[in-house]
Symmetry: C2
Subunit: 231 residues, 2 copies
DNA sequence: TATTGTGAAGCTATTCACAGCC
DNA sequence: GGCTGTGAATAGCTTCACAATA
């Protein structure tokens, strides 16, 4: 994960907490589906893969929604976290770059059980334009500004090749989009106040490789075969 | 991003630094292609989107590879960072779950300019098995253990539906895979010493929504149209 | 002179441990 | 008695600012 906080923070929830709220929410929704009425910090923490003190401190930033001796009311907490995350409104999303990845995202139905609507798919390739993907017609990138304005897009997703990403980001920003999720392997330059998050496959793999190498070096023997030497 | 450090850290590089090294590496490789021989911390930091003090401290963890008054030799630094990240060897990767996303990853050629080889694509769907994707034949998930063993897979990528992910992770671990990159929206349970990183689209969107809501609330007017109210 | 490498300071996040409350 | 909420302690990360040095 990587983030750029849009402003210093106004009387706010710590960034690290914000990043975990979605995880808690997902665990709570699972409990809700099973009809569980209340949950202890211990049990919820376990489901979310964090320790219970951290969970309690995180939740304390939202307010006092637990009951001592009992735990948290699942339904209520789902609502509070959803509200805090801004999921009680619907955010319009545009995806630019309809290659394999763009298509994968467009088809990915369950965006955290609602909160987001994919409103537009755009691509620069004329051959792509007009095709139907996930029951949307792919538009031409030239219509970006128009689409953002007319459909109230506030979150832009970039799945273009690296070379195109900065230009798309700039156009998004000038069109008024304040939140960008970038899958292209480049550092985007945006003005202050615009929030960019990036998802970068090769970075993740490289971090894994670092730890794997550590492990191999620390062990006496080479545990999980590291593969061919390449000089 | 999210990580689980495999062990406390053995005389090591801070986790936050490790997560940035791939970014520096990418910027350096771009400079290398343009034939730039040296770069200052200021310039490299700019390209990587961090401040220069942080960059210098990060690099200082690898050793003293700069020259005062001059900067860093690009070639040399590329080599040092690659080595530190374990990219001077080749890591065998298996992808399980060949849906839209699995296919997208399989076709994504430039894995950070080498270091990783996709060795196997596996799926549970018999209709999928035998198809060719990115010049590899999709195998059946039942062959996971055999494939991991015979091809020396040490990094497993999970792009299955949420329901299947934990079972796949467990099989990876039992087969000796110590590094897992998880795209499925679940918290994976793995033994200590196994390194899991997750990439989760809806979490990223939810974090963006949180900040977008903040921004909208802070402004007098609603800047970038937030979309429809939903109760 | 220009730029690195790094102690020291400041900030953020995590964990502990227990008082407070149901 | 059981579990939350939270101050205090600790650990980790970032930034400052400047001495060291090619």
């Amino acid at each position: 994960m990587t983030s750029r906080t849009p402003r210093p923070r106004e009387r706010g929830i710590p960034e690290a907490t914000v990043a975990r709220l979605p995880v808690y929410l997902r665990a709570l929704q699972a409990l809700q589906e099973r009809g569980t009425p209340t949950v202890s910090s211990e049990a919820l923490a376990e489901a979310a893969g964090v320790n219970s003190a951290k969970l309690r401190k995180d939740l304390s930033h939202l307010g006092s929604y637990g009951t001592r001796g009992v735990g948290y009311e699942v339904e209520h907490l789902v609502h509070q976290i959803s509200r805090e995350l801004g999921l009680t409104q619907d955010w319009a999303v545009a995806i630019v770059g309809i290659g394999n990845l763009g298509r994968a995202l467009a088809n990915y139905g369950g965006f955290g059980t609602r909160g987001f609507r994919i409103e537009a798919l755009l691509d620069a390739d004329p051959a792509m334009v007009g095709q139907r993907v996930a029951s949307l017609e792919v538009g031409h990138i030239d219509s970006l500004e128009e689409v953002v304005g007319s459909r109230g897009v506030s979150i832009g997703v970039i799945t273009t090749p690296a070379e195109a990403a900065q230009a798309v980001a700039t156009r998004f920003v000038e069109a008024g989009v304040g939140s960008i999720l970038n899958f292209a392997p480049v550092v985007l330059n945006v003005p202050d106040g615009v929030d960019v998050r990036k998802v970068d496959l090769s970075i993740e793999l490289q971090i894994l490789a670092f730890h794997a190498q550590r492990r191999a070096a620390g062990d006496g023997q080479v545990a999980a075969a590291p593969g061919l030497e390449l000089t």
